[in-house]
């Protein structure tokens, strides 16, 4: 049962932290509020990812990338989310490209293959698209 909760749902501590970002500092969130939001967010991610996966399956592709997620959001009627995620994806790719160029400038030619990609900056919508790694403390 522990494995089921850890594998099938996002860690509840991270969900609570994301919910707190939008609230004033004095606000508190009940445990069942966090649990219900955990289930809603998990279902939403499965819903959008299923749509993206269906598109990739039709086009005989195996990798679901960011563009597929944007397309899935717009095809499901979440056009506003698709626009915001599209802009974020553009900024994210620019940052990645700049990081690659930066490391190529200062590293030795022998160590070019060892490029460390930093995680994306913390953003409310980014956490919905990129779920955080499974946290044992949750």
């Amino acid at each position: 049962m522990d494995q089921d909760v850890q594998d099938r749902a996002l860690p509840i501590a991270n969900v609570g932290r994301i919910m707190k970002q939008i609230l004033p500092p004095s606000a508190k969130i009940s445990k069942e509020g966090k649990q219900l939001m955990q289930e809603c967010v998990t279902e939403f991610i499965s819903f959008v990812t299923g749509e993206a996966s269906d598109k990739c399956h039709k086009e005989n592709r195996k990798t679901v990338n960011g563009d597929d997620i944007c397309w899935a959001l717009s095809s499901l009627g979440f056009d506003n989310y698709a626009e915001a995620i599209g802009r974020y994806l553009h900024i994210y790719r620019q940052g990645e490209r700049e990081k690659i160029n930066h490391t190529k400038k200062y590293e030795n030619p022998q160590n070019q293959t060892q490029i460390n990609r930093a995680p994306p900056p913390p953003l409310l919508l980014s956490r919905v698209e990129n779920p955080p790694p499974t946290n044992q403390s949750g």
């Binding site: 049962m1 522990d2 089921d4 909760v5 850890q6 099938r8 749902a9 939008i22 649990q35 289930e39 809603c40 279902e43 939403f44 499965s46 819903f47 299923g50 749509e51 269906d54 095809s75 499901l76 009627g77 979440f78 506003n80 989310y81 915001a84 949750g138």
Partner: protein
């Protein structure tokens, strides 16, 4: 359509959970639009959002009737196939017993036992390490004051000190030397500074009982220094 009907037949086994999920799916499509279009108070923006959402999703599609207990549920036409696909996925997970059925109150047994062993203060909250150390210090001081007379003398209790002064002649001579101090203003200032420092130290060491009795407290300090 026949394939859909055939695939929907196993869903009747979990009719209640499916209906609840459908309600959450149907209603959850509206709040997702709120945070982006209108970042103001939700009470004000919610009435404004409803006609826009109705305008955007004017074409509605009825979900299959066998899953809806009280009439058909209308959803966004764009999400119709997605919802059906999710139903099939949940049916597969249900068949494999992988759904989150009952939520455990805790995830790790060892952490649960550790939490049970932790000390709680008034109101039921856990005591932090500082609060725990303070409570232990108070317990130790209570035990010492109850048992040993030498500790009583070292703790400089005003009542005990007064009794000692009434008994011994040396203490009387010390009292006379203490009475000479207030005449000199400079020495008095230095003495008060030392007194403040000692008060601070005693407050850090034990706590509230040492704060009472200023003058006798000063006299007691002299005696302790002489004894050492």
């Amino acid at each position: 359509m026949k394939q859909f009907l055939f695939l929907n037949l196993p869903d009747t086994e979990i009719n209640c959970s499916q209906v609840d999920c459908n309600h959450s799916m149907a209603h959850s499509s509206y709040p997702y639009g709120d945070p982006i279009l209108a970042y103001g108070p939700q009470a004000i923006s919610h009435p404004q959002m409803v006609p826009q959402m109705l305008g955007l999703a004017s074409t509605r599609v009825a979900l299959p009737l066998d899953l809806a207990e009280d009439g058909p549920i209308y959803v966004n036409a764009k999400q119709y196939h997605g919802i059906l696909r999710r139903r099939q996925s949940r049916a597969k997970l249900e068949a494999q017993n992988k759904l989150i059925k009952s939520r455990k109150p805790y995830l790790h047994e060892s952490r649960h036992r550790h939490a049970l062993n932790r000390v709680r203060g008034s109101g039921g909250r856990f005591l932090s390490t500082k609060q725990l150390a303070q409570s232990n210090a108070e317990f130790v001081t209570g035990a010492h004051s109850g048992s040993d007379p030498t500790n009583i003398y070292q703790k400089e209790h005003p009542l005990e000190v007064e009794s000692h002064s009434s008994k011994d002649g040396d203490n009387a001579s010390f009292i006379t030397t203490y009475s000479d101090r207030p005449c000199l203003s400079g020495n008095n200032l230095n003495f008060r500074q030392q007194e403040c420092m000692f008060l601070g130290n005693s407050a850090n060491m034990s706590g509230a009982p040492q704060c009472s009795g200023g003058l006798t407290f000063g006299g007691a300090k002299q005696r302790t220094s002489v004894v050492r």
